[in-house]
Symmetry: C2
Subunit: 311 residues, 2 copies
């Protein structure tokens, strides 16, 4: 019997700063209901799905920053999503800014959770590859202060048996790094879910605009192919506080092929039925790691962080 | 002053078993002369460029196998290529089967060399990711016995200062593995040259035919982008001994974009002028390894060879 799973990639249009969490949760629930009508068992929401992408602003006051963080999950604003998902028997993946009291101090992470159709927590992931910068950069039209507002995730890339397969998570910039997918690939991952907020304009360099979407697809497709896994990547999209997010919510098959792509920059549910067993042909042949990987030649990948050109 | 380099990707059409090395070297020299006329300073030939792709056959006798190997490089058959390249002031990359007397025994590698415009050796690479299998598999229309006829390369992935930049090599199946590019990326590589012989039909699994070329491009483009390096990948192409090689000689920019692709399945010179400084914007921003890599979470990539799913 094929291990099929219908996933709803729940792209969000922009969230403005004035939008309340209650308003956003209503949109999430709307997409959840559409997903239910379309037979989905798992709904994937974007990174930082409860608020606008606040790292675009330099904020001096910690209280102003912390207003974008969740101190508990669920909390009163988000509880209706948890309730409705359980009622409908749908699991979900949700990204949010997490404020945690941990090891005697306040810690802040760019976090995602996976919740099963019974409403139970499957697992949590905290973003490891934080892009951007930590200090104000006046030449940028928008800041990208993830390195200021978040700590590097401390949970690695776990995978879990859930939704009939082996599921892992990553967030936004993580998808550009082959290390992200390889770590989960080595744990047999069959489905990677990934939310993102990617600006259309890259303020750190001059590049043709179409490269942005190409880089997104290239990263997702190569991560899928090179590990024989499904990838569902879900955007926050559209014009958010004057900053255009490029969208491109998509599903990549274990072959690396793009098999579904959203067509709008707004709230849009992309429902796709995948066969988790379609991971096996790639995992057992071209990317049979046990047969083909040569770790004795990979040491530098872990031993060395930055590039060191020859003298 | 821009560091421009004009590279000739010298795709070869098929080499049949009955073709002699002398005949093949004449074709290589023909392409070299065209490259010279088109201002190339480096010519990249395919993997195993002197003979047919012999791992498609099961051969019991070692003498029969060894007839496809070179015991010295250059040797009498190949010397005319070295001579003409030096005369024209062009460097080259050449793949061949290498038989080496080393550590008191006979060793066989799938090898490539890099020779500078003065005719001096820059370096040697021995293929690490050998695809295929070691034992005869009767269900295959063609064998892929690289694991039988070659040892795993023992030189790692060095890079060299050459041709005005930092150059590295890999061979065929190596390009599918992000580890290959990352190891060289960590050494600051600006140009990776890669020869390949890739059959259109994958005998190890059932897959749509168009996936083969997609996988090739996906691997090359992601390796380029994720390390901010130029990649020149050069095919042996066309119908060789009844086995179709899919071609697809190409140049990928450090942006990941395909900027040149061969249009035939025969001997074809693809000349492309690249700016080696175009690697810097990617290396200094999105893939600034020192700023963004988190090696503390990558350990499993080196510690574990095969995939181990959760219990």
């Amino acid at each position: 019997m094929a291990r099929t799973l219908t996933v709803g990639a729940a792209q969000l249009g922009p969230i403005q700063r004035s939008d309340t969490r209650k308003q956003v949760v209503r949109r999430l629930i709307e997409l959840l209901r559409e997903a239910h009508a379309r037979n989905c068992k798992l709904v994937v929401y974007p990174e930082l799905a409860l608020t606008t992408f606040f790292p675009r602003w330099m904020m001096e006051g910690q209280a102003e920053v912390d207003a974008f963080f969740e101190r508990a999950m669920p909390n009163a604003d988000v509880q209706p999503l948890f309730d409705e998902a359980r009622r409908l028997g749908i699991g979900f993946h949700l990204g949010y800014a997490e404020l945690a009291e941990q090891e005697g101090r306040t810690r802040r992470f760019n976090t995602a959770i996976l919740v099963d159709p019974n409403g139970d927590f499957v697992g949590k992931y905290r973003k490891i590859h934080l892009p951007g910068h930590a200090e104000y950069e006046p030449q940028r039209p928008f800041q990208h202060l993830e390195k200021r507002y978040f700590e590097v995730g401390d949970l690695g890339w776990p995978v879990w048996r859930a939704f009939g397969g082996i599921v892992g998570m990553c967030i936004c910039n993580d998808r550009r790094w082959p290390e992200t997918f390889r770590v989960m690939g080595l744990k047999g991952v069959e489905l990677v879910v990934c939310g993102f907020n990617t600006p259309e304009f890259n303020a750190s360099m001059v590049e043709p605009g179409h490269h942005r979407m190409m880089h997104h697809f290239l990263s997702v497709q190569s991560g899928a192919y090179q590990n024989g896994t499904w990838v569902v990547a879900v955007a926050k999209a559209g014009m958010e506080e004057g900053c255009m997010l490029h969208g491109g919510t998509c599903v990549a098959a274990p072959s690396g092929e793009l098999v579904a792509v959203a067509s709008t920059l707004g709230d849009e549910l992309l429902a796709y039925t995948m066969d988790l067993d379609a991971t096996a042909p790639i995992k057992n042949t071209i990317f049979n790691f046990a047969r083909h990987r040569r770790v004795e030649h990979y040491g530098i990948i872990v031993e060395q962080t930055g590039a060191i050109p020859p003298p």
